[in-house]
Symmetry: C2
Subunit: 577 residues, 2 copies
């Protein structure tokens, strides 16, 4: 490519609505242009990166035996009604009516359509397994689109769907996709981590997220450096910090703690470590019993320095549909205000659920259900009935790994892929069956597998940038090499050597752009550093007379002299490393 | 590709709603699957053809200096309001509201968005010319979607937009695109014709349509075999059939023609040729004059054997907003009923417009404005005042070419591309200006250029099929070559030779599929003839023992014996021819 035949439009400043570095750099590099809230035109440089990302995904999906098709954007409401998602999905599902008043969804994913395709095509177990995928535009009407391509409304996604005859087959298909995803993210040249994920409301039997590691990531990834344990924060099991409970050593004492509604304040006032305190979270569960609406009081107990994990709470039997208690409910149940709640002496009956760590504590501090008072020296069995015990908290660095093979570390990530064992959730709802070996109809076992194509761009930049701009990994860079001739228009020697190299690199299959715009060096270099092309060769008259070109990798602090005769091989070496 | 790793699902019968052969064959070959009215999933075989079509378009667009980007599907109403198209476009523009009630169009084309992109990026004439294109999903909410991919609602289009500083630049950009389109359709291997087109309501200064020639085409293409004149029926100028008017030879006579309301009936009754008759078409024009609504009576005169061309009528000065007269208006103006109207002796004043051919007729027959009577021997100047003269009719085969270089022929075509000189229609409405050499703002001169990507599939099939199925041109075939081994699973010799050929063809860059499904020959051959793969090689035990493979081109009536040693070179010869 020649820069004069391409469209390059860089900016010194990012627009004020660009809050994160990837959004700022993509706008400044001219990769994207905002059309509306969460809707972007992919400008020529941005589109080149997208196409490279798509090509790698496509190759690895094909290699893994998945078959590409293309499902429509505009999908009839009737299919979405079959699975109930037409009603279940909120306003993030973009809905549209045609001229005849018929309703359609603009697809955010395609489970319904692929299940409809397959139920029309698959008759027998002999046709299985099958895995279909497409790379398609998606729309999700986010309430608050932001962060450029990270949380846009219109975006590109690769979604694949596997169909198997039984659970073992589905798990095998899942494994193939898991491995394909690992291959894809490896080829992107990004540091990534696959973590076990919670299955969430969608149901199913297993799921993993693929995250690009970046300190700016929204998600916390939990892993054990000495084993292969890895999970996201929702799914990471927290072990009790003490293996067994110590015997009670102190007497229960009601202690004045005026104005201290937080564990940190109580610990400071009493001169104790925060890890000696226990905080109380009051919940209400409303349900129908024998046709009557009843309210239950529940209490969660967490160590003062721990954080509640709401996904785990929802899994406690009885708490699937809980909510936090209102101040009025708290007053009625505990006889006091928030900040002084505890398990000893509540006004109304409360079901107590202690986090595993709290269940093994002795001589702890908790609220006394009396304003400005806490108990010290509280002990299970003696002062309070034994509680229900559950894993309620987020893990923290240094916790024991649930596999018993080390301690946990935490890093930040950006979710860019998700593989999911769906089981028969969709096939049962849509009556997508096949005839098994005995000629009996059975529902298809499904898996679904997504990669956020356009999100990859943002995640790659969040992981790879400096104060000059983007630093693309070679495999997904808009160009692999940029040739920067000095006075291309004026000095024949420079022009001739640039053209020779350009031809030789193209012949070698290198994706190269020559900057023939005739800019001054400073402006030219700034453009390519901002755009993030990984390899740069400067062709200058003085250097040529000395028999040298100047090579500089995007992360290099200094240039390297390379002879014109050696430059193609030199660059091929850099590109393959 | 191996058939067992691909998805092949052919059908004996097409669904009853498939009215035309391309729709029937695409459904039977398993290329597309209907999701809703005018909305199709592109199944794996169909998608392969689409990707090949897109790749050829992309290569030629890039070669022509156009730059690829990707504009969003969901486009804010505000931009469409700037050009007035939000209101002008009817229900075929699919409109959607987001969760905040903001309105958007699902794009049918992208003039507004590209003009918005460019007005934000282009400051100076130095940045021009520019040509941006994208290949993107489009939606048009057709009232009556039909014919499969020919008139779908969701479809894929390549649309390009050129921006120039002046008319000459725009015309040069237009020429480059015209030539690129010719290269694209040539590479597809389709017989096509570019014809001059009417500019229609969109305005602008020039336009051509590209048609795939097919006897089933909806459009009539007019061309001169001995010159380069070519136009569609709307734009093809009709010359007068006689160069000059003959002198009057007969007396005007009012003749009883009871019950003959059509020219054919009158000619038969009077024993005259149909070409001696003239038919009258009564029009009404309503307009405001000095704040008052007035009605004008107009009459069009056409030779009895000619067809009215309504696009030409609308171009007659004064007739831009005409309509056909109602029966009541006819009775009031002519004093008689339709079937007996004519230019002699109307009850009210009528502006008479004669087609060029009618204006040069003598001794003709026309209605007498009296039920059951016609005039014979009617003559201009003597019996009727000289009329206004205009080109009002469709040309017919054998008409003189407007360039004077031969006579016209007509063939049928399917429109698959359109190039259009837009001028400043969009840039002026959207204030997309640049600073010219004198530092003065001037509106950008635009052109737009479309290719119906998915429609190409239908058109190619309408041009290339037989009673067995589709016959793809090599360049856009889903596979170039199919290997059909007989008893692949059972006979090692067959399996080994098939694998050797498969490897050799892949290494030679041939797009080959091996049918390893183990089907019987009849079913296997029928599948590939239906799918339309252009080259087939049968590998059988008996042939191999005799040192032969059987090659058969999709259009060949018999197979050709080729030795295993020669087959790769033989196929390469076929593919490059």
């Amino acid at each position: 490519m020649r820069a004069t035949r391409f469209f390059i439009s860089t900016q010194k400043e990012a627009p004020s609505d660009a809050e994160i570095v990837s959004h700022q750099l993509m706008m400044r590099a001219g990769m994207i242009k905002r059309l509306g809230s969460g809707i972007y035109t992919y400008m020529p440089i941005g589109l080149r990166v997208i196409r490279k990302v798509e090509a790698i995904i496509r190759e690895e999906m094909n290699k893994a035996g998945a078959i590409e098709l293309l499902m429509p954007l505009v999908q009839p409401a009737e299919l979405w009604q079959e699975t109930g998602r037409w009603d279940k999905m909120g306003p993030e599902l973009m809905r549209v009516k045609d001229r005849h008043g018929r309703e359609y969804a603009i697809q955010p994913t395609s489970e319904e359509v692929i299940t409809d395709v397959v139920r029309g095509e698959i008759k027998s177990y002999r046709q299985l397994p099958l895995n279909f995928y497409h790379i398609q535009t998606k729309f999700r009407d986010e309430r608050r689109p932001r962060f450029g391509l990270m949380r846009g409304r219109e975006f590109t996604m690769k979604d694949a769907y596997s169909f198997d005859r039984d659970l073992a087959g589905m798990q095998a298909s899942y494994k193939v996709m898991f491995d394909a995803y690992s291959a894809i993210f490896t080829r992107f040249g990004l540091r990534f981590r696959a973590v076990a994920a919670d299955n969430g409301a969608i149901g199913g039997t297993g799921s993993h997220e693929f995250h690009v590691i970046a300190s700016t990531g929204e998600d916390a990834l939990v892993y054990c450096p000495t084993s292969d344990f890895a999970a996201n924060m929702e799914a990471a099991e927290a072990m009790p910090l003490a293996a067994a409970r110590a015997p009670a050593g102190a007497a229960l004492a009601k202690t004045a703690t005026p104005g201290t509604t937080k564990c940190e304040q109580v610990a400071a006032l009493l001169g104790l470590e925060l890890s000696r305190t226990v905080k109380t979270i009051a919940l209400t569960v409303e349900k129908e019993v024998d046709g009557k609406q009843v309210k239950e009081n529940w209490m969660l107990l967490l160590r003062g320095d721990h954080e509640l994990n709401e996904v785990k709470v929802a899994k406690v039997p009885g708490l699937a549909t809980h909510r936090f208690a209102t101040e009025a409910e708290i007053l009625e149940c505990y006889g006091t205000v928030p900040g002084y709640l505890g398990p000893i002496g509540t006004r109304a009956p409360v079901t107590v659920v202690a986090d595993r760590t709290v269940a093994n504590m002795a001589d702890f501090v908790c609220g006394a259900n009396d304003k400005d008072f806490h108990y010290t020296g509280a002990n299970w069995g003696r002062d309070i009935a034994e509680p229900l015990v559950a894993d309620l908290r987020n893990v923290v660095e240094g916790d024991a790994s649930p596999d018993g093979k080390g301690v946990l570390a935490i890093e930040r990530g950006i979710e860019v892929g998700h593989v999911f064992q769906l089981g028969t959730a969709y096939s049962a709802a849509m009556k997508a069956t096949f005839l098994d070996e005995n000629g009996k109809p059975a529902p298809l076992q499904m898996g679904c597998y997504g990669i956020g194509v356009t999100r990859i761009l943002g995640a790659a930049i969040e992981q790879n940038f400096d104060d000059k701009g983007i630093i693309w990994p070679g495999a997904i860079a808009p160009f692999e090499v940029v040739l920067c001739p000095m006075n291309y228009d004026k000095i024949e020697m420079v022009r001739a050597e640039t053209e020779r190299m350009y031809g030789a690199l193209q012949a070698a299959g290198v994706d190269v752009i020559v900057d023939d715009r005739g800019l001054r060096p400073g402006a030219m270099f700034a453009d390519w550093e901002l755009i993030g092309v990984p390899h740069r060769v400067v062709i200058g008259e003085r250097g040529l007379k000395e028999g040298n070109l100047e090579y500089q990798g995007r992360r290099d602090t200094e240039a390297t002299a390379v002879t014109p005769a050696a430059i193609v091989e030199f660059l091929q070496g850099k590109l393959s490393s």
